[in-house]
Structures are given as structure tokens and as C-alpha cells.
Symmetry: none
Subunit: 401 residues, 2 copies
Amino acid sequence: MISLDDLKALARPAQTKIVLLVMDGVGGLPRAFDGKTELEAAQTPHLDALAVQATLGLADPVAPGITPGSGPGHLGLFGYDPLQFRIGRGVLEAVGIDMHMTERDLAARGNFCSVDAQGLITDRRAGRIPTEVCARLCGLLEKIRLPGAELIVRPVREHRFVVLFRGEGLEEGLSETDPQEVGKAPLPVHAEASHAARAAEIANRFVAEAKKILAGEQPANMVLLRGFSKYPKIPQLTEIYGIRAGVIAVYPMYRGLARLVGMEGLSAGDTVADEFTALEKHFGQFDFFFVHIKKTDSYGEDGNFDGKVHVIEELDRELPRLLALKPDVIVVTGDHSTPATHKAHSWHPVPVLLWSKWCRPDHAKGFSERECRFGGLGHIRAAELMPMIMGYAERLAKFGA
Amino acid sequence: MISLDDLKALARPAQTKIVLLVMDGVGGLPRAFDGKTELEAAQTPHLDALAVQATLGLADPVAPGITPGSGPGHLGLFGYDPLQFRIGRGVLEAVGIDMHMTERDLAARGNFCSVDAQGLITDRRAGRIPTEVCARLCGLLEKIRLPGAELIVRPVREHRFVVLFRGEGLEEGLSETDPQEVGKAPLPVHAEASHAARAAEIANRFVAEAKKILAGEQPANMVLLRGFSKYPKIPQLTEIYGIRAGVIAVYPMYRGLARLVGMEGLSAGDTVADEFTALEKHFGQFDFFFVHIKKTDSYGEDGNFDGKVHVIEELDRELPRLLALKPDVIVVTGDHSTPATHKAHSWHPVPVLLWSKWCRPDHAKGFSERECRFGGLGHIRAAELMPMIMGYAERLAKFGA
């Protein structure tokens, strides 16, 4: 794959506009009764018409056979090899609730848990306390004072929270405190590398103080910390391609992932229609828009084939609003497959549609996994899509003379 | 390509069973009179029915344009990049006669040759002496005593034999003794790196003793040694994927290659039907079976198109026995192409059929090179197949969150 440095050297300015429309988990599998996938079962006249003029393909988000989480799935679409650029669990959790991180932050994923009088864990999730209780306890924890480090503690959902340790010299390389078993005591944090010694000391101090503060609470009287990680250093889209990029996503996780690569978060509303309204509103302000549709994945995970079909159809009904804006490059794809029959993210390659006036049209019968097999893009890695997008957007100069 | 370390981190246990069915050299080329390849000419109703429900593709064993030997061809199928994992000639020869090697062994490929009174080579192959004579001479050579090293000498075929030098500090990096020309004297072994000095000394001592012992023999009165190599350190399938793997192969070479990656050799009998009987017998004991069919390659090398067709048909007749075992993932492919029209291994990509209940069916018309071009697996490297197999077998956890 071409390096980001090479792409940066080739990038040139242009007036072209790009829309990357991601239906989360859109790739599917055939249902039993008629052998149709979700995309095939959906009535999508606008997507199908676009497919006739577009170039199609299949993309492996990470590598053949590998099932991606949302983080790697999106990094791939944004043009970063997910095997090279890795996002720690703590950072992903912080990103997922739209927390803004700085280079000085070390993030950890926290659980409130229950311990007995001997300090042994009786419930690793403290009975899944309500989110409101979690928020109140986070407020208590945030009062802890640590030497030379600020502390930010935010609730996620139920027993889950995020801690940011902010300060100088707080490096990665810490062991986790969750023994992953009840009947055991939480483990001390230890530094797996000498440069992480200070971070380990701070984290252990936090845990000790948290234990004191939570001693009178029930059932959430202790914390477990996992996935200590720094905000990753990822070359920003603006630096590489010289583009201004905006993200339109209803869910904070996807805004956070897009911010990791330098996109600006735009207010998206709550529905697919709201997202298209946001696109219309901001269309003049950015070169590149990442529009994220969540519910294809949610219904896929629920095993709700028809629900997923309806979200695809909802998107299709709104598509003419996007076409009316006359972007120069339109890509419709997913960050991974979530077949409703599989009820989970899967390793199957993802259908890709790329339209621009510079396409060699595939004259496909529609937009589906099947048609994408025969497409002119071929079978690619998701991270190869971004250079292609930039090529079709006439934003890359000739390589060599 | 995803690293073996990453795969190891993702591997998770499952109850699924996998069968990798390799028809050696199965990839073909069209014959003149009707343009059909061996796979197309063969009547294969069972393979064709499986292809309808399967996902197909083409695999390059090593890299596009590269003709693989049996070693690299199989390493690729077992999930190892053959450009990274290399097997020395001496080791391959030892593996090929089912010798068990240890980490302390240095293997070399030997030839008996003929030398004149001045010690100049008159025949590099000693008139291709009968294998029985070779065996007797190996017995004589094995009596040589070396300081600090054991010696194991085994006949291969005709003038060819294998020597294992077993001891501490016997490292790779030795020059060969075969001058590749008659009229010259065998070359002394020299160490190409300082750590190989002791091995060079031992090898030269062996050659000097062999010369004395063979002095009265005719025509095989001297030895040539090539391909000094240590048993390669290859991460084992069990370590990486946590699977128990067994090999069913009539020829020792393929059992040896499979043992290199940690498979257990199962008694295979002599025929394709015997191999399926072995599969039935051992099906409960392993997670992964590599079943090797040799004669597709042998007939390909002989230029015997019909012979190769008949072996494919023989396999197809036995296939229902495999299907009846209800494995979760079935892969049918080859380690390389050996087109009968080409009479040799070739660089052509190899057809691949992958079936599991999680496939997006390609609805192919049958199993052939042509149909595989349009398959959902796309055009891959053979080494990418193993992660896919593990994905389809639900033996890999999600990558990232």
C-alpha cells in the first residue's frame, strides 16, 4: 500500500467535494427463504441507479478473515492501515463518549465493581448500577487529588466509566487491575516498561483513594481499570490531503473516531433525514464529509433482518438530497459486515460503491454484495479506498515524471 | 498481511472442524482440442454442487509469477508467508523421507559421486546407483565417528541421501562441496560466517572419512554435500490458533511439511479412498485436517492430462464421505498449478473453494479456474487463506473494539 508520506507528497488542492456515506455493518448474508442479503432485499431505486454509473468493489476492513471492531473498521475507511494504527481500549471508550483528549492524557476504561469485607470481588459490574448512579460516583472520584496530574472521570453507561489522567510523563505500558474473576482482589497496576513507572504510581494512588471514597457505597464500592492508553498520534487528514473534513454522525463514538484523524464534528440531529439536513447546511464549508448511519449495524446485531432492510431503504429515500448537492465523489459503503443472520460484526468483505464523473461505469444491476464482486474496484483493503477517493477527486498529482 | 502474532492474540477456542483438502498441482491450463482445463474436463458433480454454495477465489502460492516448490506451496496454504519462512534444501530432503529432526541437527543433502585417481569428479551422480546400493553405503557412512556430534545418514533414492549432524553449536552458513562440474575436485566446506566454523570442521571431517571408507567402492567412491540447513523455527499451528491439527498424506514429504508446523501425522494408507477412511477414523480427534492428494501433480508433471482428470474424478467420488462428516469449514485447493500441458509446476494462480454455513454463496457453475475468477474470495495470496479459514470457523475474536 502507498504510504501516507507518499500521499502527502502527491496531494494537491482542488475544488472537488467528497461524501463518504457509511452504513455501519451494512455487509450481509443471505436469509434462508429467498437467499437475499439485506441489501438485496431492500428496495433501493436510488442506490441502484447510482450503482449503474458507479464502480463497485469489495473491501476487507482489516485483512481477510478478520472481524473488525468499530475503531479499526473506521480507521481503514479513513485511509489508515488498522494493523499499523491501533487505538487503545481506554482511548476508544473516551472517544465513544465524545471526550476531548490531549497529548498529555492517559485514558483508562473503568468498571465500578463490588468487593466484600476482605476486598475480594463479588461482582465485576456492581450489579450494572444505573447510569445516573455511575454519574454521581464519577463526580465523587473526580474530587481525588493526584500529585502532578489532573483527573477527569466521566460516566459511560451502567457500571462503565472513563478516567483521564492528564499530566506530563504519563506513558502507556500499564497492566490492568481487573483479575477477570470474582473471589479475587483487584490487582495492583504495574509498569510493564520503566517509562510507565510514574503512570503506574498515579493510577495506583487513584485506585487507593477511590477505594476509600467508595467504602460506604453499595453495591459499587470499588473500581477496576483496564486498557490504559494514550491518544494515538495519527497524521491528520488535513496534513495528508490538505482537505477540510467534517463528520455527521448521530452517535458520539463515530464523531470521536473521526476527530482522531482531524475531522470536525457537525451537529447531526437524531435521524437519517436530520443527517442529510446537516449535510445540506454545511456543504459549502468542507471538502470531505463522512456521514455515518448507525442503525444498519444495531439491527444487524439484534438479528433484525427487516429492521436493517428498512434503514437501508430510509437512507435510499434520502439519497436524492445528497445527489442534489452534486458532490464530485460519492462513496457508499460500510465499516464492516454485520449480517442479521450472524447477529454480530463479521469478517465478510464489505460492498463499496464509488461514483464520480471519472468512473468506468460497471453497469451493475444494483448495489449488493453480489454485484460488488464483479466491480471495477476489485477486491481491496478498506485503507486503499481513501487514495482512490482522492484520485477520483483529482486531488493527487502524478507520481513520478 | 496480518502477522502471526496478531492472529495468535485473536485466536479463540471453538468446537468447529476444518478440512483442508489439497489436490497437489491441481491448477491447470486448457487443452488444445476443446479449451478445457483438467478441472473443467473432469466430471465432478459433488465438487460442483459444493461450489454453488461456496465462496471461490484464486490464490497465488508465493507471489504473482512465482512458481513454487512443494515446500513454499504448502507453507503458504498453512498460513505462513513463504517469502518469510524458508526451508533449507537439506531439511526439505530430510522432511521428504519423514526423518524426525531436532533443534540440534544440521541437515545436508548428499549425492554419491564418482571420482578418478586424482580425486576429480567423473560423474556427479555415480551412474545413479540403485537405491539398495545407496542404502548399503549410507550404512557404511553412519559408522563414521565425529568429535562431539552424532551422525545419521539415510538413503533417499538412487544416488541421493541425507546426513544429519546432531550436536551442540552446529550452525548454518556453510558452503557446498559440489563444484557442479565434472573434472573438478569436490570443494572443501567453508564457514560463511564465524559461528559456523565448528559445523564446517565437522562436515569436512565427515567428507574426509567418507572418502576413505568409499575408496574401494565403484562407481560411488565419494560424496558431495549441499544445502546445509537447520530445522526452521516456525510458530506451530497449535500455538497460533490453539488447534489440534492432523495430516493425512500418502507421501512422506507432505507429512514432513505438515509436521514442520505442528500437525500430527496420521496413517493414510495408499489410495484416495484410504485417505478418506483415515479422515473418518480420526475425525473426532482433531480440529483441523490437512488431506493431501498427490497424483494430480504426478500426472501433471508427466503431461498426462487424462490421468490428472481421473484423479480429480476419483476425489470427487469420495467427497460425499467427507461431507457426511459435516465439517464446519471445507477448503478445496492446490499448493500450486501443474498444468498437464506444461509438464511442470507453474506460476499460475490456484483455484480455491471455501465452504461454510457462513459463506456468501457465489452460485458458481462449478469448481474451475474460470469460475474461481469471479468468486467472492477474490484474488489472494495463499497465506491469507488460513486467517480466512479461522474466521469462517469462528475461531478469531474481533480485532479492536
